[in-house]
Symmetry: C2
Subunit: 429 residues, 2 copies
């Protein structure tokens, strides 16, 4: 079978998955948790092969760290599955009901999207997490993991497929792709695949977005801003800059550009410089910034750069509206924060900054599905439609309209013999 | 200014529109209603020019009918604006709120999508309706109407722009495109335009979908099915077939293929044949159908054809599941109905048919924003993400996450010094 056959199979499986009841889905998830525990040794063995091979290939230390799937990671995956079992059934939920006329009732009911294609990098725990979220939400899934994690992904998929067959899940609902060629083919299969979720480097996500007609959910850049308003508390502004920039530099919600109101710059920047020096953060600044503290000159290009490193660009702005305009021009619509003691200023900032996540007096690092309390996340979206910000189970759902009548025809309404009542109902289907 | 400049301007306007309050938006809508009444004569004069020119160009009678914008149509547009004023504010609504920790509160708040590109055919009332829906939902809009309606669209846009300026709406929030070349350019402007809504012929919508990276909301085909189950009431099945097929043949929610359970075919088909003959509907059938009634042979291609005409293809199926499989294979995910007296059968059909609108004992013609009670609609979507079925105001919205803290940093949670509470709040922002 080639990838097109697998995609067709996934499509067929997705049509059946839509009607599988909660108990069966939860049985699957619980059994998968047990199977992961039962196969712990085999999984760790496969993962050690991946690590050994990757080490000889000389991959970077952070990548190696993410590749590791040990007892602790397996325990985490198991506990993730157990929490997923506890989440309420997301499919078949009546979102609203309306009587169109006597005996003619309309229900908007949640349902799965269909077939999801997920492409993720080296972390093997993502395979368990994403496939389980898809199953719980009734979606079939084609997965492509990082090349480095091949053996780990293979054994995890083998376990998933075995448990699927034991619990009589529709055959082919989950399939592991192994080559880049397969990913390329998948991007053309808009007949069978309803949504692509790419996780990984900017270049990679952009490549996906540029090469498919299938809707893509995710984000390329994370050019996040912190704006220090003239009404900011200087200590708080420094603490939030330190956390946003340095708590974990290589992630999408880390700070890249600091905007500072001109009236507070002289108080704030020298103290900031000290804090950044302690964390060994390299500073790049606009001319006005460089008149106050020493920093390399920031070029136009810096405002568009996601460093993902111990580097921070700084710009002094004349006003709140200039800060907002800068963010809307150079930002990536991911996460942007303001530090201010003024509520009106904060409200205006959060209203006018066109980003998925807008924060007042909090670190940009909070934009994350787990921290938001969404449970597991499939990724963070900077899309302007469907789902925005951290995306959990809900982003894997859509709805359908179910209309129940008793032989109702439109002619009667078109000819004025009957009238619509359009009365909201407090009913579930 | 060229179309790129207009798109940039619309983008800037959209950023401001997001924060305009309800009263100002409603003032605009009310003043526009008055302005339409005040300029009634000029509008009708412009429309007569369009009609006269189109007649000499020999456009079809149905197109001419849709082009007409007379006193009655203006009154309808005015009453549409008045109902839109009465609708509750859709922007800035807290969809949920959660305490992440003491003093750290997350709000999911509705907001506009940004800039919408709408391409519609000859009906000038669509221009007023769509631009008003966009304004109420805080979106900027680039509109391209049919060439036939050029003069009418021009004067309507002129009135809209005048009223916008009187009510101080952000300049450039609405702009009328006039050439196909402009539409082509618009499809490439994914930097400024967030969503394209095409209304029109299948070929046209498919052309749009195939030629842009901007998300497209809409539908190409409407290949709708009615499945007559073995537990159907024959009279009801005939009445629903007549209404679904003939109440208005040239629309997307009209019936194209009738599926009949083999056990009821002998009772149902002769009576149906009589009803279809009365309405002059040409029948095409599978072999089993043609053993019972006279009909032209249906080819494989017929199951994929949207006739939009007095033509109906008929197929006899062995079971409910065969009917479902046929619909999921050949349908377009638009509207599909079952006629049956059996609730379990109906529930299974509505669960497993993967379409935006699934009906039990009701005509396919009901799938429409007005009939659903959504108010005006911008179109019907067969997308699997964002919005499905008839799309009203809600489909023009997305949300953003607003997080309010008091200097909260992630390090404290990552290092275990603080724990998330994740407590649902009953609060609005």
């Amino acid at each position: 079978m080639n990838i097109i056959d697998y995609a067709k199979k996934a499509k067929n499986a997705s049509l059946l998955l839509a009607a599988i009841d909660t108990a069966r889905k939860n049985d699957y998830l619980a059994m998968l948790a047990n199977a992961l525990k039962a196969h712990e040794e085999d999984i760790i063995k496969a993962n050690r092969e991946d690590i050994a091979r990757s080490e000889t290939e000389g991959i970077s230390a952070p990548l190696l760290k993410r590749l590791k799937f040990d007892e602790a990671k397996i325990a985490e995956a198991v506990s993730g599955l157990e929490s997923l079992v506890k989440l309420p059934e997301p499919v078949g939920i009546t979102r609203y009901a309306m009587e169109l006329d006597e005996g003619l009732e309309l229900y908007r009911v949640s349902c799965p999207i269909g077939v999801i294609g997920v492409i993720f990098e080296s972390r093997p725990d993502a395979l368990v997490q994403i496939s389980s979220l898809c199953l719980k939400s009734g979606n079939a899934v084609l997965l492509k993991g990082g090349r480095e994690a091949l053996e780990t992904n293979r054994i995890l998929t083998k376990i998933i497929v075995e448990v699927s067959s034991q619990t009589e899940m529709p055959e082919g609902w989950v399939h592991l792709l192994e080559t880049r060629e397969d990913v390329k083919t998948m991007l053309g299969l808009d007949e069978y695949i309803d949504l692509i979720i790419p996780r990984g480097s900017n270049e990679f996500v952009r490549y996906i977005m540029d090469n498919t007609r299938i809707p893509v959910l995710g984000h390329a850049d994370g050019i996040c801003h912190l704006y220090v308003d003239n009404d900011a508390d200087v200590d708080m502004a420094i603490a939030l800059t330190v956390d946003s920039k340095t708590q974990y530099v290589s992630v999408c919600n880390a700070l890249e550009t600091l905007l500072v109101h001109k009236s507070i710059a002289k108080d704030f920047l020298p103290a900031l410089k000290k804090a950044m020096d302690e964390k060994r953060v390299e500073l790049l600044g606009c001319d006005a910034t460089r008149n106050i503290i020493s920093a390399a000159p920031a070029r136009e290009e810096d405002w568009r750069t996601e460093y993902l490193d111990y580097k921070l660009s700084i710009k002094i702005v004349d006003s709140l509206d200039d800060a907002i305009a800068h963010i809307n021009q150079y930002g990536s619509g991911h996460t942007d924060a303001i530090v201010t003691g003024n509520r009106d200023t904060a409200m205006r900032f959060m209203e006018l900054v066109d980003s998925a996540n807008v924060f007042w007096n909090a670190s940009t690092r909070f934009s994350d599905g787990f921290r938001y309390g969404l449970g597991a996340e499939v990724g963070i979206s900077t899309n302007k439609i469907h789902a925005r910000g951290p995306v959990g189970l809900e982003g894997l759902l859509i709805y359908k309209y179910k209309l129940i009548g008793n032989g109702h025809t439109v002619a009667e309404y078109a000819e004025g013999r009957k009238k619509f009542t359009h009365r909201k109902l407090n009913k579930k289907l």
